[in-house]
Symmetry: C2
Subunit: 370 residues, 2 copies
């Protein structure tokens, strides 16, 4: 096996922590001696041991503590993200690796967290450990796309979603929008909901559609074990939404609810009202959401809300479900953006996935214009 | 091998005549004796021998005329389309099969041509030949989708094409539309041009864009041999287009040109003006095009022309290229259709193909609402 293979294995391990480690990054770690893996581990859950510590534990379990310590000394360690250098819930991993006298560290990327960025590597180097940064860098970055965005932008990772007709409409003039896309597409959109920490809609959409904003899939459909708890994302509303019969569904259930607006309202049970002075408070609101561990959000509309996110270039991903129907003029446009001065200057997105649900398409784009 | 396999082989053979046999259907034929193929053939070119005759010739070439005649007597024949019963350019195939004393005939579908429809089978039955209609019927119909449409609708097979932004726009307010989609998509659209007998645009588009309406791909790109001639589709304009400097490109070259309008104009060189009395002359125009061997057309726009075809439900296929950009409000919509009364009543298309050209998508739909 080659260095690349060991790093690929670390990435594979890291993925096992998906969703459970947020707002932490997913990290996997492989310890290698004489070209053989002697220990591996991953960060399993927020607040619990980091990948490096779990890999050492795994090695000790395999070989017994005494032999493991001998083996780890002089070994090479592969980890997708720079080992941490600060103590938070757990002791810093860099120190642990130094104590175990490893010989060489391969890490895919530096930690984007400005409190760490490079400091873990510095510590290791100072202790005489060889370091190599950048192995499978792109894959390591992609793996923790949400975390990197959180760190570099100080906001949640933002996915915009629209379900529209071939002519770009999301509802008839009457407001009717059930259902443009087919049941398979709608099911898939619930799967996306299950992958984020919060679902955001604008106040108008909340009042008009009275949406539940919940994941309505079974454990089986979500690929979860029998006893797993389905974690519902937080419900987030942009604009001054008040409790009423009209919006009964949002306020039912136990999900955490965040409402951001310029109006004051007192906190109640699971609802947190966030008040802002500025008219254009979206960025501030997003930062506050991240501070509340909402590391990723799915923005589901309506038109005005999606527009606001696009106009402010506040999105990382766009998911578009397209149904093979025409809703015609007079129907509501998915978006109402201003026109670019020239086609050349229009923002171009990068397609990363193309899927099909019966006669609907799903296209997923990254916004590379950030 | 089973009956299904022999019919599948007949379909495979038939495809070799693609584009060369129009306005005839593609037909392949397999002759089987004692579960072995003893002869096979296909209709190679319009006006030349039919598949059945070529299969008999192939058998004679393989075994010598004398032995072949003995072998064919008592054989089973597989053909995707009903053998013809009328003499046109070649003698009727039903008679040929009867003369050769075959035992059993399998055909995928009856000939939709009302002059034949069932009469070929009748002739064979009358001569004591067992007949079986319907083997791989759907595949046989799909193979000759153009021909079936020509016969049942008395018009060319119609493909609508649009190249649009994510918000369903085809040009900026200024009229700028070069280029919304990327070079790979545009290349692919030339490939579609090469598969039809005519390209149609509205008069406004002709005047505004001065398009060439030609296939601009090399022999290699079209998968043609070194000495093959690239056949250019006819250029068709809906509306009273007059020769002028503004539309120089349409009138250059040697392609046949058809212009349908309510105005009279005299025929000139390669241009045929078709005049109609009725305001709504599209169906008549289409019938006249089919009478001139234009068995398939690609409608490339603009908005008004595409609308007209959709509103009149005059299309069999829709090809949509979608580029990952937003052109915003004020930009020109691909379509300007009336809204359906309810989403349930909106016309739904059937997706038959989903492709990707870098960051563009291409979706191909069938209109099953005919």
């Amino acid at each position: 096996m080659k260095d690349l293979d060991f790093m690929a294995r670390a990435i594979e391990l890291a993925k096992k922590g998906q969703l459970k480690v947020q707002p932490n990054p997913m990290v996997g770690c492989v310890i290698v001696k004489n070209n053989k893996i002697i220990g591996e581990g991953w960060h399993k859950e927020y607040g619990k041991d980091h990948a490096e510590v779990n890999a050492i534990k795994n090695c000790k379990k395999k070989f017994g503590a005494k032999k493991a310590i001998k083996l780890i000394a002089g070994s090479s360690v592969y980890v997708n993200l720079e080992p941490c250098s600060i103590e938070k819930n757990t002791p810093p991993c860099s120190n642990t690796l130094i104590e175990h006298q490893i010989k060489k560290l391969f890490c895919g990327t530096l930690d984007p967290n400005p409190k760490i960025n490079g400091r873990g590597i510095k510590l290791l180097k100072k202790a005489g450990i060889e370091t190599n940064v950048g192995l499978l860098r792109d894959k390591c970055k992609e793996l923790n796309r949400v975390f990197f965005t959180n760190q570099s932008k100080s906001r949640p990772y933002i996915i915009l979603k629209s379900a529209q007709s071939l002519d770009g409409k999301i509802a008839l003039k009457s407001g009717e929008s059930n259902w443009i896309t087919n049941s398979e597409s709608r099911k898939n959109s619930h799967y996306i909901r299950s992958r984020v920490k919060g679902i955001l809609v604008g106040r108008n959409t909340a009042e008009q559609d009275n949406p539940s904003l919940t994941v309505r899939l079974t454990r089986d459909e979500l690929g979860l074990g029998k006893n797993a708890v389905i974690e519902q994302p937080a419900k987030i509303v942009l604009g001054n939404l008040k409790k009423s019969k009209k919006v009964s569904k949002i306020f039912s259930g136990n999900s955490k609810i965040f409402i951001g607006s310029r109006q004051l309202a007192k906190k109640s049970k699971n609802v947190e009202y966030l008040q802002y002075k500025k008219k254009n408070f979206l960025e501030e609101f997003l930062k506050d959401l991240l501070d509340r561990n909402i590391s990723s959000i799915l923005v589901e509309g309506g038109q005005k809300t999606l527009n606001t996110f696009i106009v402010n270039n506040l999105f990382d991903e766009l998911v578009l479900y397209t149904a093979p129907i025409f809703l015609g003029k007079g129907s509501k446009d998915a978006l109402n953006l201003n026109s670019p001065a020239a086609i050349k200057t229009a923002m171009r997105l990068k397609m990363i996935k193309l899927e099909r649900f019966k006669d609907d398409t799903k296209t997923t784009y990254y916004n590379n214009n950030l």
